[in-house]
């Protein structure tokens, strides 16, 4: 009896997603009902869409940590905001990068205390980096970390300027608490001690918990909300229903057709903002394989893609087409005007694509389909994980576009794990892939065309799946890492964009949007396009800026 039901449920799980749209559009006919907590909500209520239940794990080094740990409980020395490109000093008031790029000195803020009343000191920072490297790794370039009074000095084995943001945005944990913990990697840290605005865990339950004010916060005037309540949802649908119904204040999850489903129910108070500051989403071509090793083929394929269609159909208009710098909206200030002025290979142009392919020797046969040099058909797969319905339709749009230039591209959509294992080993034709995102474009270009990230086919790699390396780019990346002068860095990034635009290591599609919607019925002071002091993400370093800016709606 129950047995077939179980099988059926697994099969139908995917259908739930599409059906939710139906239910949600149905909802829009009704006025929003008052929330379950009553009309006067004092706790900022946020849904978490991918955790059916919570586990009381506030260990910031754990990859499966409870939400808001790294945003509300612990803080970092500085905060970089990709929406406007500014850096806000946080636990550090200032920093000094050495001339040779091999060290940085941070000056810590005076008067910061942990939520248990102990003062925040340099030793905390030193200990945090020991723990981070021991448990999660990374920071391979870091040589020593030393504290002296209220300054902390980081030295590097090689000049590495992107370190400022990596080190600066590392969240800091208290040494006096963590030094007593025997196995920090397995610690659940049920009662966390942090410097953040909301550190006191209350009412921890399987499907909700509350974070209350840190009694010793260093900016008490900014703790204007009483606390944060997190709600657990096993999927977007439940979280979307809660948002549509007005039961939550903030909706950071993906919502289909947001104007209809969410905004239209209370246009006065509800709004959304999807800045294109996420990672660039690329159509990656396996450059270790023919014909994708030919730059003309890559550019021709890129011109055959109608990015307007990709973003409007595939991404429901939530983002914008990419340009030939390959940089997402997070790097707006880095974009080179010269490269932008000369963007031909990212513009939709079927004639040019056809001409380029003809020229490269992939002539059309009698049936109008192109063939390879050996006479076999010009056909390949586009791999994408079946769970990402939006990217799946992106792949389908590309496949249709390519039919117009005589190329057969089959969309291959198994489970993400299968897709990614193909990417990692280089055993794929093409795929829709994310890219590295960091405050500077260094990591992005390194993963896109640095020779140091290229592995042979069959060797596992976790970036540069498309296996493209350029000596010129690698040299520029090394120069960038060695430079601490902003003007010089800008010049190097301009050159990197030239190399990128010339070689088309991947086909950039669109910058990933940073979802975020909210209602200001209970709280106000949300970031907007006009006032982009943070993004609407609940998992970004900028989230704490939002938490310290929101205030109850009644407090005019």
């Amino acid at each position: 009896m129950t047995h077939p039901r179980f099988l059926r449920s697994v099969r139908n799980a995917a259908a739930v997603l599409s059906l939710s749209v139906l239910v949600l559009t149905g909802c829009s006919a009704n006025p929003p009902s008052t929330s379950a907590d009553g009309p006067e909500r004092t706790l900022l209520t946020i849904p978490r869409e991918d955790m059916g239940t919570f586990v009381q794990n506030f260990n910031p080094f754990s990859p499966t940590v409870a939400p808001m740990t790294q945003q509300a409980i612990y803080e970092s020395m500085l905060i970089y905001n990709p929406a406007d490109g500014t850096t806000t000093p946080w636990l550090a008031t200032e920093w000094e990068v050495a001339e040779d790029g091999k060290s940085i000195v941070f000056t810590l803020r005076d008067g910061v205390t942990w939520s248990d009343g102990e003062p925040f000191v340099g030793e905390d920072v030193v200990n945090t980096f020991d723990l981070q490297r021991e448990i999660l790794g990374g920071y391979d370039y870091l040589d020593t970390v030393t504290a002296d009074g209220n300054t902390v000095t980081f030295t590097f084995t090689t000049p590495f300027s992107p370190a400022l943001f990596e080190v600066g945005q590392q969240i800091i944990v208290p040494e006096h608490v963590w030094s007593a913990i025997e196995d920090p990697s397995r610690e659940t840290n049920a009662v966390p001690v942090g410097t953040g605005p909301y550190t006191e865990v209350a009412q921890f339950q399987a499907q909700s918990f509350v974070l209350e004010k840190n009694p010793n916060y260093w900016q008490p005037e900014k703790q204007q909300i009483e606390g944060i309540r997190m709600l657990a949802f096993a999927g977007n649908d439940g979280a979307n229903l809660a948002a549509v119904n007005g039961d939550v204040d903030w909706a950071p999850q993906f919502m289909p057709n947001i104007e209809e489903t969410f905004i239209s129910k209370d246009p006065e108070n509800r709004d959304y903002w999807f800045p294109p500051t996420g990672a660039m989403i690329n159509w990656q071509l396996n450059t270790a394989k023919a014909p994708f090793d030919d730059v003309d083929v890559r550019k021709a394929l890129s011109m055959a893609v109608n990015r307007e269609q990709v973003t409007s159909i595939g991404m429901t208009g939530y983002t914008e087409p990419a340009d030939c710098t390959g940089l997402s909206g997070a790097y707006e200030n880095w974009k080179s005007d010269e490269v932008l002025a000369d963007c031909d290979w990212t513009e939709y142009n079927v004639d040019a694509a056809n001409a380029l392919l003809d020229e490269a020797g992939y002539a059309k046969g009698a049936d109008g389909m192109r063939t390879m040099e050996d006479g076999s058909p010009f056909a390949f797969d586009i791999s994408v994980g079946s769970a990402s319905s939006d990217w799946l339709s992106v792949a389908n749009v590309i496949s249709q576009n390519l039919a117009d230039v005589g190329i057969t591209a089959t969309v291959d959509a198994p489970d993400w794990a299968t897709v990614v294992s193909g990417y990692e080993l280089g055993e794929f034709d093409t795929g829709i892939v994310w890219s590295n995102a960091a405050p500077t474009p260094y990591q992005y270009f390194r993963g896109m065309m640095g020779t140091s990230t290229v592995e042979a086919v069959g060797e596992k790699t976790f970036e540069n799946y498309h296996r493209y390396g350029s000596e010129e780019a690698e040299q520029l990346l090394t120069d960038f890492a060695a430079s601490s002068d902003e003007a010089e860095q800008g010049e190097i990034v301009n050159q990197l964009q030239e190399v990128y635009s010339e070689n088309a290591p991947a086909v950039p599609l669109f910058p990933g949007p940073e979802w975020g919607a909210y209602t200001d019925v209970n709280f106000e002071g949300w970031p907007t396009e006009e006032n982009p002091y943070a993004t609407l993400s609940v998992r970004a370093p900028t989230t704490v800026l939002l938490l310290t800016s929101l205030k109850p709606a009644s407090a005019e």
């Binding site: 009896m1 129950t2 047995h3 039901r5 179980f6 059926r8 449920s9 697994v10 139908n12 799980a13 259908a15 739930v16 059906l19 239910v23 149905g26 009902s33 379950a36 907590d37 059916g52 239940t53 586990v55 794990n57 990859p63 499966t64 448990i135 999660l136 790794g137 990374g138 391979d140 397995r186 610690e187 659940t188 009412q203 399987a206 499907q207 909700s208 309540r229 657990a232 096993a234 999927g235 649908d237 439940g238 229903l241 809660a242 119904n245 990672a279 994980g385 769970a387 489970d415 993400w416 794990a417 299968t418 990614v420 294992s421 990692e424 994310w434 590295n436 993963g447 976790f462 998992r539």
Partner: protein, 325 residues
């Protein structure tokens, strides 16, 4: 006694086969937990951290037979290890924290569906051609053939969103202190109505139809005519003579369903955001969380086998033919 021993032997072999399958199946899936976590986090994780995470989670690189021997040992000693998708929480704790809700939801709806469904089946067969017999089965089968999640969403929309009679999510109102207070129990019951209702609606038709059909067969037996001839009250004949003999298949299905209750009702849990192991199992499969998957499969296996064993024993009591054969 010999019967029970023989059954025990059979269950032992079934158990071994099940736990071996539980071990093999997840390992046929491509990738490993860390790649999956990386794929899901996309740009949020650094590539440099992957090896470290493998070490942290203790992803096994040993030969498969060595892992198997180890696994059998762990199963027998009740050690299920640490969940990867819920790291560093032990698997037993993850399961223990949610299985209560699963059993509550699954158990309540199973009991209601079985009891009401069987009673309706008895009535329908007893009054053949009556209103219950001609009207209900088509209606219930009609409802039962709806996609499960559709019914759940329709109920959620109608009774939760439009009418506002029932809460939209979770097992109890967030912030309410769990405890044996009237307020809390009422709140839990209030939250249970919609999810349980949809499961009952979907499964009740099967119970009713099954009971009705066997009942019709028993109604034609000579001993029923005999009982009628003796002038016994119709109610007594219906329940003590006909229904009692028609009950055996229903007991079997009930035992089977009882075992599967611990597997959770995935879609109900997802639609109503109800806590339970169904979603946990889906998440474990998607995240290739071997320890949690094994733990959940083991729990389900054990529950199904135990339920079956209980039914077997019950059969000895209910059906004399089993005893003699």
């Amino acid at each position: 006694m010999r019967f029970i021993l023989r059954r025990l032997g059979f269950y032992f072999i079934a158990f071994w086969a099940c736990i071996t399958l539980n071990f093999m199946l997840p390992r046929f899936m491509p990738g490993d937990p860390v790649s999956r976590m990386f794929a899901r986090s996309q740009d949020r994780m650094q590539p440099e951290q992957i090896d470290q995470l493998r070490r942290l989670f203790g992803v096994d690189d040993r030969p498969i037979w060595e892992q198997y021997i180890n696994y059998i040992g762990d199963v027998l000693t009740g050690q299920m290890g640490v969940s990867i998708s819920r790291f560093p929480t032990p698997v037993t704790e993850v399961i223990a924290s949610q299985i209560g809700w699963t059993i509550l939801l699954g158990g309540v709806s199973l009991i209601i569906a079985a009891v009401v469904g069987n009673l309706l089946g008895i009535l329908a067969a007893w009054r053949r051609g009556g209103l219950v017999d001609s009207g209900l089965p088509p209606l219930l089968i009609f409802i039962g053939s709806f996609p499960y999640f559709w019914l759940a969403m329709a109920a959620l929309y109608l009774f939760g969103v439009v009418l506002g009679w029932f809460p939209l999510r979770h097992a109890f109102t967030s912030g309410l202190e769990p405890g044996f207070t009237g307020e809390y129990l009422l709140d839990v019951a209030h939250h249970l109505v919609l999810p349980a209702l949809t499961i009952v609606l979907v499964s009740i038709g099967g119970w009713m139809l099954g009971m009705r059909n066997t009942m019709i067969a028993t109604n034609a037996e000579d001993y029923i005519i005999m009982a009628e001839a003796k002038g016994l009250k119709p109610g007594r004949i219906m329940f003590r003579y006909a229904a009692r003999n028609a009950m055996l298949p229903a007991v079997t299905s009930f035992g089977m369903s009882l075992g599967f209750v611990v597997g959770g009702a995935l879609l109900t849990e997802v639609v109503f955001a109800y806590p339970g192991v169904g979603y946990q199992l889906l998440a474990a499969v998607q995240g290739l969380d071997y320890p949690l998957m094994q733990g959940l499969f083991l729990t389900i296996t054990a529950a199904v086998l135990i339920a079956n064993f209980l039914v077997d024993i019950l059969y000895v009591r209910l059906d004399p033919r089993v005893r003699t054969s």
